[in-house]
Amino acid sequence: MLRLEKLVKTYKTGDQALKAVELEVPAGQVLALIGPSGAGKSTLIRCINQLVEPTSGKIYLGDLELTGLSSGNLRRERRRMGMIFQEYALIERLSVMENVLSGRLGYVGFWRSFLRRFPQSDVDEAFRLLDRVGLAHMADKRADELSGGQRQRVGICRALIQNPALLLVDEPTASLDPKTSRQIMRLICELCKERDLAAIINIHDVALAQMFVQRVIGLRLGAVEFDGPPEGLTPEVLTTIYGEEDWEATIETVNEDEIEEALK
């Protein structure tokens, strides 16, 4: 469904963020992208929807190649890729409803969106999504009145109302407490399953990634170091990705957490 061929990104400063990344994501697969800060995780995700323009290489979404599209066509393709951000990136001064509906901007004209006259079907869908994430009663609240977990749920609704085929998720839990982090990860994975969505989730928390995803990609210095199931993340593998450290604790935590979850 998504295929990256020899994707390279070199910033103006000369830093090579991505070195010929090859990656194929089948429809409906949720994968986690792990790696140290500066490994190019954010750049990779932003290259896919062209918020960052790749230096070379090709990106296929379905059969269509995304690099070098005209701006109109690129906008049409961006609608198929929902994005969720670390700091939620909601429009703070707009209401929850307006934030969710902003996910439809690619589908409605300027004046309709400016005057907030979205089609009734969009409004219905927004209410349905808000209800699904448990925020239906918050629709008229301003986004800056919400807690972190609630904001991220709104962010998820905004991405889903685009009716995407792929979710690009950039550190969804980095600003959240451990419990909310799990709830958000669980919600994202459940929604992907419900809607048969593929997702690429950038994540720092290896244990959390192992808990929820089917496949893990380890990125180091802009190159793929590991590609396999979460059980494949042995201390040796983590050492090649992140460098020398006592990894047993990280992996053990996972097991303890799972027991804890099971007991609840």
């Binding site: 918020l51 906008r75 951000f85 707009l94 901007l105 300027f110 400016f114 685009q162």
Partner: protein, 271 residues
């Protein structure tokens, strides 16, 4: 090195000997320059007028009090003109300043190389000329009256409003813009959803702040013939009608106090 070893003890001083000497010399030069300037200014001052000042001030004070209260009936229309001049000028300048600000802000300008310098030039040139001088020019071009005053206020305010606004635009949270772009929104939609809500509080604050300043500026524009209460002030001064002058000053004071109160209220409501 301010730390010295003295019989095994570490002595710490703020400055070394050489540094404190330099410091003293700097002060000495400063005092010398001050004394020299004082002497120069004294030499060209006609001291008779200065010693005379309290007596003249007292004289004007006795002539100006009490204000001629009856004159207030003739001030209603001029002060209304003045308020209108300030308000219309502010609105007009905001309409012109918004596009200039978007063209000048680094993150929204269509071209950093060509358009941004032009926008910055507009900002600098309109800001650098006082509204009194703009009024003088405009009276020559479009004739005396309130309209010239409105335009003078508007032109003078463009630079001020555009500068503050483009700084606000440059300080927005870029991830919100990214998020809207990622939905497939068009350029204008990104502006309406990603940028405008973020700068709206700054915009409202700038608008009332400038309006407040413009009320003060428009009171003097009449001095050069641009209408409003300044015109009344200048004609009263010309005929040495001090009781009228004092009343006009009181009216201006009241208008400024009220505008200050309004803008404080509005700003409080926004934030």
């Amino acid at each position: 090195m301010p730390t010295q070893n003295f019989k095994g003890q570490k002595i710490w001083q703020r400055r070394t000997g050489r540094e404190s000497l330099g410091h003293w010399i700097m002060w000495l030069i400063g005092v010398a320059i001050f004394a020299y300037c004082w002497q120069q200014i004294s030499a060209v001052t006609t001291w008779f007028f200065v010693w005379d000042a309290p007596r003249i001030a007292d004289d004007i004070w006795t002539r100006a009090t009490p204000p001629r209260w009856g004159y207030i009936t003739q001030l209603g229309e001029p002060i209304w003109d003045t308020l209108n001049m300030a308000s219309l000028g502010t609105i007009l300048s905001l309409i012109l300043a918004v596009p200039v600000a978007f063209l000048a802000a680094r993150n929204t300008t269509p071209s950093l190389l060509f358009i941004r310098p032009v926008a910055l030039l507009i900002i600098v040139s309109t800001r650098s000329i006082n509204s009194l001088i703009w009024a003088l020019l405009l009276i020559a071009i479009i004739g005396p009256g309130v309209f010239a005053g409105v335009i003078a206020i508007a032109i003078r305010s463009i630079g001020f409003c555009a500068k503050l606004l483009y700084e606000a635009i440059e300080e927005i949270d870029q991830t919100q813009v990214e998020a809207i772009t990622a939905t497939g929104a068009s350029r204008w939609q990104v502006m309406a959803y990603g940028i405008v809500p973020q700068i709206l509080p700054a915009f409202a604050g700038i608008a009332v702040f400038r309006w407040d300043i413009n009320i003060r500026e428009s009171t003097v524009l009449g001095l050069v013939g641009a209408g409003g209460i300044g015109l009344q002030l200048s004609s009263s001064l010309n005929v040495l009608a001090w009781p009228q002058v004092s009343l006009i000053l009181l009216v201006i004071l009241a208008a400024v106090v009220i505008s200050e109160w309004v803008s404080a209220k509005v700003r409080g409501a926004i934030i």
